[in-house]
């Protein structure tokens, strides 16, 4: 069987034990305001960041930014914009014409503008990818400095899927010209409460 053949070959060829180094997050921690750093990095990678006092306060901003959005799926309490019943969706294809998805983010990472979105925040895994525009609402106090501080937070994460989202989808595959909006959302709005 190939499994034992491969493992035998590996065991024959792998070197003697080499120790695993410790990661010291303090070595990589930067001084400074996490919220400001997060906002500036996320803006630099193409995200639109808004500071708001409550989810409700995001409503007028979303309405102004997406006046033509007809099909909206919202997973955030306090933002009454839903035009579809999330539970009625049975296939990805039914979301193909989704104009806007609004989802909660668990926490952000200042060094790279990434936001952790667990599967439980979504009605379907495809949601934050298939939507034309994505909005994430998160608690602005939930920002860590680096990825070294992000993973301890995920120590007890047991869900089947989760994703760090950093900005809108993008590509530069045609002569290195940056185009925002590849296969995923054409834009990302982030509301920091």
């Amino acid at each position: 069987m190939s499994k034992s053949k491969i493992l035998d070959s590996i065991r024959k060829n792998q070197p003697g034990a080499i120790p695993l180094p410790e990661i010291d997050p303090a070595l990589f921690a930067d001084e400074g305001n996490l919220r400001e750093a997060f906002t500036s990095v996320l803006t630099a990678i193409g995200g639109n960041v808004h500071a708001v006092n409550s989810p409700e306060a995001a409503l007028p901003i979303l309405k102004a930014a997406f006046p033509d959005a007809a099909k909206i799926l919202c997973r955030v309490e306090g933002i009454d914009l839903n035009t579809v019943d999330p539970d009625s969706i049975t296939s990805a294809a039914e979301l193909d014409d989704l104009d806007l998805a609004i989802i909660p983010g668990a926490f952000g990472v200042a060094e790279n503008g990434a936001i952790w979105v667990p599967e439980s925040a979504l009605s379907r895994r495809v949601l934050p990818f298939i939507t034309a525009h994505l909005a994430i609402v998160m608690d602005g106090s939930q920002i860590v400095g680096t990825m070294h501080e992000a993973y301890p937070r995920l120590k007890d994460f047991r869900e089947g899927f989760g994703v760090f989202i950093a900005g809108p989808s993008k590509t530069a595959d045609i002569e290195q010209s940056l185009v925002i909006g590849a296969h995923g959302p054409l834009s990302l709005s982030v509301f920091l409460i």
């Binding site: 990805a92 503008g113 301890p152 590509t171 002569e175």
Partner: protein
Amino acid sequence: MNGHPQAAAAFNRDEAHVDWHDTALWAVRQKRDTMAGTVRNWESLRSLGSQIKAHTLSNLGQYLEQFEKNALQNGVKVHWAADAREHNRIVCEILKQHKVGKLVKSKSMLTEECGLNPYLEAQGIEVTDTDLGERIVQLAKEHPSHIVMPAIHKKREEIDLLFQEHLGTRRSGGDALYLTREARKHLRQRFLQADAALTGVNFAIAETGGFVVCTNEGNADMGVHATPLHIACMGIEKIIPAQEHLGVFLRLLARSATGQPITTYSSHFRAPAPGQEIHIVIVDNGRSNQLGRPEFRNSLHCIRCGACINTCPVYRRSGGHSYGYTIPGPIGSILAPGKDLHRHASLPFASTLCGSCHDVCPVKIDIHKQLFRWRQVIVREEGADFFKTLAMKATAFVFARPGLFAFGGKVGRLLLKITPRFLVYSRLNSWGKQRELPAPPGQSFTEWYKRERG
């Protein structure tokens, strides 16, 4: 036997395009430098990356078994493939069992290495590469010329024509925004019509049985979440011990690759969605042999960021296709001879040995030293005839380009100045062993000549 010099000469026929290629890749290298400069203790981060990989390789068997056990517990199916043929057969069988007619793929250099696409197509399965760059080369019936930027060798006008022919677009002169939007529409259809999705794996975590896939375009996730069957193919070296190590590698990967702080999507898969299946295919295909070569072992640290490719003066001026191997550039040139020494014998000579690849590598692979070691192996194994023909031609390619030579020389002299004695006079440098190297001159002959001539 054809080799790098002949193919590189072909690429060099379009001078202006070679200049563009050279400059574009150098710009990516510079973005990488800027980004690395913003990270506190970047060098310690690289060391960590290298040490974690070295540790993992020294425990690889155990970690792979741990990974399998946890993945099975998560409800994921695990397959083992000793070589490319077995990999292709396994993938095809899974697809046949699920009656898959249409497959969407995101980027996977491993499936390129295994020649999966032609294999599946011969079995009547429609395969669509969904990364924009990969779709471009697929439509052009070519192969990726770069592991991160698959279509970097293509001019926008060529892409314009290609899309007119296959996607029915209008003539746009190569308008990147227009063409990308059209590709989005075209591929959206493919995602929604597909029966299954195949992805690569950036990191597989022994501790959790989960794995991470990184993209900027969102194509991997579009395919995976729109279809009921997800096949993820990984080389045995993709394993890392625990989730916390993702912190190190995700910090290194995108910064080194494109100068981004992180890719847009870092997707963490652990268990299938309701009604979905996930299959992982773990592939050896020569990797465990490389593990048994101590002087080349750490080439398995590679996280496929492409930084060594972007910085390589020879790659930039010879193009990815000139290497004739799935992974081009410096890293490919130390991996390929391990697979087939005779066939890839010219590759280790397609280098100035300037060491720039090693300087940028996020996991500190001593690529330039391994290139030098392969040269010694090749001269020994392939004999003098080979050396006189191919090796000399490859060397001639390097020396015929004053730009390359200047780049290599400058860095070389700098290295000689800053490299500790024990490195210069180590066993690797058989010449330095016998005699002291001359003090590096402050300026090279070329620089002196330029100055003297005004």
